[in-house]
Symmetry: D2
Subunit: 294 residues, 4 copies
């Protein structure tokens, strides 16, 4: 019987592990789940038919998934687990991690015969529940192909390059999210000060060339409503723009706009709060313009 393990039952991890469990129920496998707080694993098992496990027990799985806040958390888990790992295991890290960490983690795990793939996801909690996340895979092509069938939570899984490339693309994606969100916020704040109806403005922008996921989805649903539902935290967005800047630095690139928005995200994380929803980034734009976006 095939065994998978899922480590990290956060907002994304819960539905991702549930998707693995639905698949396992059809194919006769099983899914072990682990979380720093054991009660979350027990609750997951009760609700989705997975099995709560100790960290050590998860080492027996043939595929180990991680989905943790940062690469440093993954390092810590690897440290606790590596003595127990079996050669031939595949480690699929869905964390929004750091490309440099991916290369170090792969090298470290290879000494145990374990293959590491970076596999961050996009699509949010709704995408995870629907099992149609986008997965960006970094690593050797054959290993990527071999694991593709295991990604029960994926709608799209794309091999983007060598180890670390998945994390790199994810960081750039989130940096673009931050840019598009911030810039659209600037534009709306200014139009608002000028007396323009912001719902009408967004309607035409969304039928025009300036549209983005920020203008089409995030701002109408989360900002104009003043709800800012806390799903993906501002502190984590700032972490991701920082990873994007590390990437820029590592290739000696020049990215003045990404750099500026990274600095503004970090400022917003401090001034508005790291645990606020990432769309609360626009609260700093609002303060800078004394103009609510509503």
């Amino acid at each position: 019987m095939k065994t998978a393990a899922f480590l990290g039952l956060g907002a994304m991890g819960v539905p991702m592990a549930a998707a693995l469990a639905r698949r396992a129920a059809q194919t006769g496998g099983r899914v072990l789940v682990w979380n720093r707080h054991m009660e979350k694993a027990l609750a997951h098992a009760a609700e989705y038919g997975t099995q709560a496990a100790t960290l050590q027990d998860t080492a027996q799985a043939s595929v180990i998934f991680t989905c943790l806040p940062t690469s440093a958390d993954v390092d810590e888990v690897i440290g606790q687990l590596e003595a127990h790992l079996n050669p031939g295991t595949v480690w699929v890290d869905c964390t929004s991690g750091h490309p440099d960490a991916a290369r170090a983690q792969r090298a470290r795990l290879l000494t145990h015969g374990v293959r590491f793939l970076d596999a961050p996801v996009s699509g949010g909690v709704n995408g995870a529940k629907a099992g149609n996340l986008t997965v960006m895979l970094g690593g050797p092509a054959d290993e990527v192909e071999a694991v593709r069938g295991e990604l029960a939570f994926a709608g799209t899984a794309v091999h983007v390059g060598d180890t670390g490339s998945g994390f790199a693309v994810k960081a750039v994606n989130n940096a673009l999210l931050a840019v598009n969100l911030w810039a659209t916020g600037e534009g709306l704040a200014v139009l608002g000060r000028g007396g323009v109806d912001l719902n009408a403005a967004l309607q035409v922008i969304n039928a025009s060339s300036g549209r983005s996921n920020a203008s089409e989805n995030l701002i109408p649903a989360r900002v104009l409503t003043r709800e800012f539902p806390p799903t993906f935290g501002l502190g984590l967005l700032a972490k991701d723009t920082g990873i994007a800047m590390d990437l820029v630095d590592s290739v000696k690139g020049s990215a003045p706009v990404l750099a500026q928005v990274d600095a503004l995200c970090r400022a917003a994380s401090r001034m508005i709060g790291p645990n606020e929803d990432h769309t609360a980034l626009l609260k700093l734009v609002e303060q800078m313009n004394e103009q609510e976006i509503r």
Copy 2:
């Protein structure tokens, strides 16, 4: 018999006037067309069933449309035409114009009993041919409603606010286009330097939260192909980001990212060329990173 006039037969004006002519053919009206170069008007008449007219003749139309490069060009046409205008005429300016100009033009035309509405469009040449442009209307609500039925080239027509608001929203839309395009270019150049496959990267970004019209349409069709087809010029994009900055200034707003991208657009217009397609903006990003986006 109802008469409309269309002044300015550029890349957008030709299909927009053709849409008016198709409608007129059904409703028994006629469409006069004028262009600085008379042969363009004659060719349009031959192909689309409009009537080439002198500038003075267009003054007899009940609705006069203008679609010119800048508000300064509209000012010049108003100057030549105002002695001939009839009270009750409606002037619909589809130029990507300046909000301050709109207010001055409306005031000036009202002295002749002519009502001016700013009505810039979005959707490009393809949208114009299909008759489903997005129109952003600025002016008094009743006048906007009265003219709505005349906009044969529109798929969506939205009243966004008082006189000048249409131009303001259009400028912000184009500034957002510039930001999204530039930032996506930065991200791709850096990923390219890092050895990531850019087609794969765009595929996942377009299934993820960082997507925009730039990543979904412009870059795949115009940049990755290295075609940069010259439809909307870089110089005109820089003009529009400049209008957006004038708007920021007029409301004492703070928009550091729009400001930065405006400066970079202006630099690119000089260094790459104002008549290059607006997507050639990314050629400056490429030079800054010594990395082609392909």
Copy 3:
């Protein structure tokens, strides 16, 4: 007996008019002073031997100096005074004004035979008291030379170009002040977070290539001391960076760093307060970094 008039007794105007009075005492001339609040003029007369005058009375002076918050204030005074002005009068405007306003004001005053020169000053209250301000003169060379001897408050008076050039150079100077101040604040906040002693850091920077008036004078005297004495307001600095950006726009220039700092100054003026000293700009840097600069 030669008569000069000084209009606008603010922090700068008081010592500037006093310098004129000291000169007049030697040369047998007299100095009329006017202020919106008459008591300020009376107090000045009592302390410095000038003569408080009504606005209309100042029109008899052969040289009229203005030093007001903005060009709009100068426009208003011109409006009230123009019916009374005599041909041959010279109007020297020491306001930190707008180049466009200078050209309009000169044209308007020339219709009355009055010559307008833009003549903003730098050096602060201390420089004004010492009579060694730097004056940047814009206008025809012969008129500039003719008025040079009247500038009793000047240590240095430089003809920088045609009408409006004085205001342009002043705006650029103040924009550079804003950039140098902000950037030095960023650097110090980051060093402070890294545990570096900021007095030591400033000591070496001021003996090195990164030094500026901000690092040598403003930050040690006003920021490290936490005094932020309110001499030149943050709102006025933001006005001046805005004038610099108008200048950039008028020549179709590309100045991404000036543009960014202009936006940040405007944000700081809103978030910290327009009447705080301009060095309180760094309080926004401090908030963005959660690090006091001390």
Copy 4:
């Protein structure tokens, strides 16, 4: 007899080692010099009375100075020398290095009983020749005090904090140099487009609040003259702004202006050339504005 060694005879190293030799001639010590290209060491010995040495021979010195392009070069030299080092030796690194490298280098050398201090310098070739460089020392206070007397090339030597702090302050200093230089270039390019005389503009800026080392020294001597003498390379400036950004990142700081100028320096290094003088940074500003600064 006391022995010092100086490793790295570049533009700065030659006069710094010469200053050590002048001191040694008075105190009865000697100075060993080493360079990757032995002929440079032989020439230095012939001209300044030092002794050319093999790398291994320099290990006998009680104080070893390094002044190399980057911390990576210092790492390489340490690797070749560490087997030969004697406990009690002090290693003073005058490279414009990286704070992270300093901490690693100190830890590595301490295993051999060698104490490492980061001691970058400012003042340029002229300051080195005059023996009045500014030295920014990072490390334990007692070790800094103990070595102070050895710094024969220093006019000012300031202890700025723990290991790495010297490099941090140097990086921030050079980043501020880059900001001040770039921003002044923007301002002058725009004034030049507006017809202002740039010599006159600089004269008043240098007597006003916007002045900096860039406006007072670098631009008049190197840019207005169109000489751009290649003393400190643009590529090295971009390396230093990059170190400053690493520092910002390491403390989770927010420095949008330093970040933007870092990106622009990197672009200029690519587009203008890394071996051009750092003031050739303004050639990119000139291209962006189609306006020479002269």
